[in-house]
């Protein structure tokens, strides 16, 4: 092999490598959030916008906040929220975290909120917010929101009347095949305080009724506590259709009355 031939081959291999590397760069794209607007309010020239991946519903919701002054997105020194359900004769809050800079898109602040009841004749939801600008100005306001019904949250209570809220965290769209199965558990200490429960034992049983008293379960791994109120396992749906998952909480050796989630599993 002469030198020219060898150089030619080296150049060809180099070109192929460069091409391959350049093709691979597409894998480094940042994932993008796919959000829909929920509501926005303007206070003292600052527009506070709330977005989410879906319409808000009872159960777990990831809330995305953006604050703008004119066309510029600003980063406040601090930003806090407080969801309140006004039921005329009383009001209460719901389990939620305070917003923090979003890990995917830092122009947003995001937090998890678990709404325990829907908007409607019984009452309406408002999220009070407060933030401090970089110049030190304190801004506060309130944002009405609409929370739809869903099947994703159930509650039970112990012998002392202490309420426990069990939220179906994932799969958000149950699908045939294997799915992560995650629940969130909170309890109600006061009407404004809903701490996470991480020391319970969770017993689940998925079942598909097929009519005429017949039915079957499907393979699953029982969820176990992983902290911050999360309980993680998995569930392997054998087919699409209407399923139920019965959940029992064992708190301090006391098995609480069962809750039954009923939902549809899609084919794919």
């Amino acid at each position: 092999m002469n030198i020219q031939s060898m150089l030619g081959r080296l150049m060809a291999v180099t070109a192929l490598l460069v091409f391959a590397v350049s093709c691979d760069s597409s894998d480094n794209n940042d994932p993008e959030l796919d959000l829909i607007p929920i509501n926005s309010v303007t206070v003292d020239g600052y527009t506070v916008s709330l977005e989410a991946t879906n319409e808000l519903e009872i159960g777990a919701n990831q809330l995305f906040w953006k604050i703008k002054q004119g066309d510029d997105t600003i980063t406040p020194q601090s930003f806090t929220i407080s969801p309140i359900m006004d039921m005329a004769t009383m009001s209460h809050s719901t389990p939620f975290d305070q917003p923090e800079t979003d890990a995917i898109d830092d122009s947003y602040l995001s937090n998890l909120a678990v709404f325990i009841m829907p908007s409607g004749d019984m009452g309406s939801w408002t999220i009070n917010f407060q933030f401090t600008t970089q110049s030190g100005s304190d801004i506060s306001g309130e944002m009405p929101i609409n929370v739809n019904s869903s099947w994703k949250i159930m509650n039970t209570q112990d012998g002392n009347g202490k309420k426990y809220f069990v939220t179906w965290f994932e799969p958000q769209r149950p699908m045939s095949g294997n799915n992560d199965l995650t629940f969130l558990v909170h309890t109600r200490e006061t009407m404004m305080n809903f701490p996470a429960v991480s020391d319970a034992e969770m017993i689940v049983y998925p079942y598909m009724g097929m009519g005429g008293g017949t039915g079957h379960s499907t393979p699953f791994t029982p969820p176990v506590a992983t902290g911050n109120g999360f309980y993680e396992g998995d569930i392997n749906y054998s087919m699409s259709g209407l399923w139920t998952t019965t959940v029992e909480l064992v708190v301090e050796n006391d098995t609480l009355p069962e809750m039954v989630f009923e939902y549809s599993v899609i084919a794919k």
């Binding site: 294997n178 799915n179 097929m210 079957h216 379960s217």
Partner: protein
């Protein structure tokens, strides 16, 4: 003057052409290239024109005999279109035909010995014909689509191909056996390799059935029309076939078509078996072009449509089954080169299968009560095959390359009678891909004048995967690991020895080692209903390779007019793949199994066949077979194994008349699987059939009258799912006209 010269020239040219009609050709052994002496040169099945001389030469008049059949003892027959310039015709040795039996169909006369089977009555269907071959049984679920099993092995443990093409069933419940796509009027022959010793060609080392279809021939135009009617099931069929070629013989076309329809049949004692009707249309066309170089190109297409097929043994019926099977094959002319190509073939096929239970009483059945379950399945397969021969360091061998890829899909919708219950959907198979490539070699070694050895080996690379994320995730959830692509190298090999002890006796034996990866349903099937045990099966992508060792010994005695063959075999399985109880479903209504390697199993048995020419145009044939199959891990018999069974046929043939009396029988089967399946014992039976055939109009018109199960015995075979009985007394009348 110029005109005179031209006329004289033309006269000489014409005389030369006339003289050139006499052609001399040599017949030689494809392997050794040695001339073949006393080869019969025939113009049709029986009319011998001449024989080859000591130099293997024969001479014929080309204007009279352009299309010939050449036969010679120990060689495969060859049909050939003679052409000017042709010098040598090679015949392939067929010394191992006891392993690869030749089954001649379409009512043709041929070899009357233990090597050949004849479908003596043209009205006999493929299913019945297969069911009476020693060592072959059929699994039945009704009157249609019986699934063949060779030595108790069916489906994934046998290789069922059409012209060597892989065709995968679309129905996950196995309602569409490949045999149903080739009608007898389109079948040239069946090649059954019971032991699987043809490893180089079949690539697997498992029992193989190859349905070889009729091809277009360079022959005078011929046409056949036949029709049959059977009572009391109102079975009626019409079939056509024809062949034509142009004057040069280079272009030939063959077509065939058949339509059949049957109502519910009646079992013995006049009991009508509901839901056993069917209707079917089959069309086939084949084109062949022969090049001056003697290379030839063939193109073939089969279309099969079946409708309204009742399966009384199953939960549902097939409403429609469609198959489209196409191939293009290039046949290379024989050559003396050290490296030769024989044939190159590319093919594609698609099978689609719909079934449902809308016509069933789903509200009152025990399994899957209160819901309809329409199912759909499809497979699409592409493949290529190439084979030839080569000589390396004075060693001659045959080589075979085979590759295919297949895509399978199957789903089942469940529609509850209760309107408050949502429809449910299962993907039994979703984007499940099978890829396979193999390379095989076959060596023939002449150890002495009367001992021949054959060694074959094959290496195969097979992959299985699903491209559906949700389907793959199911197996990830079940086994805790993403299945990805499952890939294996699979080795198979065989060694066979034939000892021609004397002019009458021959002994042969073979040893076959085979490795089998589970098929697409064993690895990636989901909730596949097994009608033999009532369980729903899940696949297991992590199945280990199933291995088997098969030993075969055969003794054959042949004299003029008499022959008998006795075979014993023993097959030992390791890592046998079967279902084991799955995770608790929390239900007594639905029971689940998962495929697993369950341990060892064994199948052993034997076959006997004799053929006796009793003189006076009378021949007697006996067939007998027995299987002992045992799951050694569970210490119980394997399911769906036929008992000792056989048949005796007395055949009287005189002039234009043929009379045949046939006794089919089976012993009781008490060896049943009760752990791995839910079998019950089956009683013994024997039925008696009579057939009379007469040829008219110089043989152009044939009439056949068959009276089957004359004593109207009510019985079922052990391999009948759900103990669906066989047909009772029935009368069939057939007419066939050809020119």
């Amino acid at each position: 003057m110029k005109h005179l010269i031209l006329i004289i020239g033309l006269l000489f040219t014409g005389a030369e052409a006339l003289m050139a009609q006499q052609i001399s050709v040599k017949v030689a052994d494809m392997t050794t290239k040695e001339p073949i002496v006393q080869a019969h040169i025939k113009d049709g099945p029986n009319s011998v024109i001449t024989v080859t001389d000591v130099n293997g030469m024969f001479t014929v008049d080309l204007s009279k005999y352009s299309h010939l059949t050449i036969t010679a003892v120990g060689y495969a027959p060859k049909n050939i279109h003679l052409q000017r310039g042709m010098e040598v015709i090679y015949l392939n040795p067929e010394v191992f035909r006891d392993q690869t039996e030749l089954l001649v169909l379409a009512n043709e006369e041929g070899e009357q010995n233990v090597h050949a089977y004849h479908n003596r009555t043209a009205d006999q269907g493929m299913d019945q014909f297969l069911d009476n071959i020693d060592g072959v049984s059929t699994t039945k679920r009704g009157a249609f689509g019986w699934e063949p099993a060779v030595r108790g092995q069916s489906d994934q443990r046998m290789n069922l191909v059409i012209d060597g093409m892989q065709v995968f069933k679309a129905c996950v419940d196995k309602m569409d056996p490949i045999t149903s796509y080739v009608e007898t009027n389109n079948l040239s022959k069946l090649q059954i390799d019971k032991s699987g010793s043809g490893v180089a060609q079949n690539g697997t080392g498992v029992s193989t059935v190859n349905l070889v279809t009729q091809k277009a021939e360079s022959a005078p135009t011929s046409f056949n029309f036949s029709t049959s009617y059977r009572a009391p099931d109102q079975y009626r069929t019409v079939s056509l076939s024809g062949n034509t070629s142009d004057a040069s013989g280079r272009n030939a076309v063959r077509f065939s078509g058949s339509y059949k329809k049957a109502d519910d049949f009646r079992a013995g004692n006049d009991r009508t078996i509901q839901n056993t009707q069917y209707e079917k249309l089959n069309l086939n066309v084949n084109y062949r072009h022969t090049f001056p170089s003697q290379h030839s190109l063939e193109a073939g297409y089969i279309m099969d449509k079946a409708y309204d097929i009742g399966y009384p043994a199953l939960l549902m019926d097939a409403t429609k089954a469609l198959a489209d099977i196409g191939q293009i094959r290039f046949n290379f002319a024989p050559s003396n080169n050290d490296f030769q190509f024989n044939t190159a073939q590319v093919y594609a096929n698609g099978v689609r299968h719909w079934m449902d239970d809308y016509g069933r009483d789903v509200a009152n059945r025990q399994v899957m009560r209160g819901m309809y379950m329409p199912m759909y399945g499809t497979t699409t397969t592409y493949g290529a095959k190439l084979n030839g021969a080569a000589t390396l360091f004075d060693h001659q061998f045959d080589w075979f390359m085979d590759a295919y890829m297949s895509d399978a899909f199957g789903d089942m919708l469940m529609e509850s009678l209760d309107p408050s219950i949502q429809d449910m959907l299962i993907y039994n198979l979703d984007e499940v891909k099978t890829n396979n490539a193999s390379l095989g070699f076959r060596h023939r070694i002449q150890l002495s004048d009367n001992v021949l050895m054959k060694i074959e080996e094959s290496i195969r690379y097979k992959t299985l995967r699903t491209d559906s994320e949700s389907h793959a995730s199911f197996f990830q959830g079940l086994y805790g690991e993403a299945p990805g692509t499952r890939a294996k190298f699979l080795l198979s090999g065989s060694g066979s020895v034939l000892w021609m002890m004397n002019n009458n006796w021959s002994l042969s034996g073979s040893l076959v080692y085979s490795e089998r990866m589970g098929n697409h349903m064993e690895l990636f099937g989901h909730y596949i209903y097994n009608y033999t045990d009532g369980f729903f099966y899940d696949g297991n992508p992590w199945l280990k390779t199933e291995r088997s060792i098969n030993t075969d010994i055969n003794a054959t005695w042949e004299t003029t007019g008499h022959s008998l063959s006795f075979t014993l075999f023993h097959k030992q399985y390791f890592n046998y793949i079967d279902g084991v109880l799955g995770t608790d479903s929390g239900s007594n209504d639905f029971r689940f199994k998962q495929y697993a390697n369950v341990g060892d199993a064994v199948i052993t048995g034997g076959e006997f066949r004799s053929f006796n020419d009793l003189g006076m145009m009378i021949t007697l044939e006996n067939r007998l077979s027995y299987l002992y199959a045992h799951n050694q891990t569970l210490d119980e018999p394997l399911p769906l194994m036929p008992p000792l069974k056989g048949n005796t046929t007395l055949h009287f043939h005189r002039g234009r008349n043929m009379f045949m009396a046939d006794l089919e029988w089976a012993a009781e089967q008490n060896r049943i699987a009760e752990i791995s399946s839910i079998e019950d014992q089956t009683g013994a039976y024997g039925i008696f059939n009579l057939t009379f055939e007469r040829r008219w109009m110089d043989g152009d018109l044939t009439s056949i009258v068959s009276l089957n199960n004359i004593l109207d015995h009510y019985y079922h075979t052990h391999t009948s799912i759900g103990n669906i009985p066989e047909a009772g007394r029935n009368l069939m009348i057939s007419l066939s006209y050809q020119f």
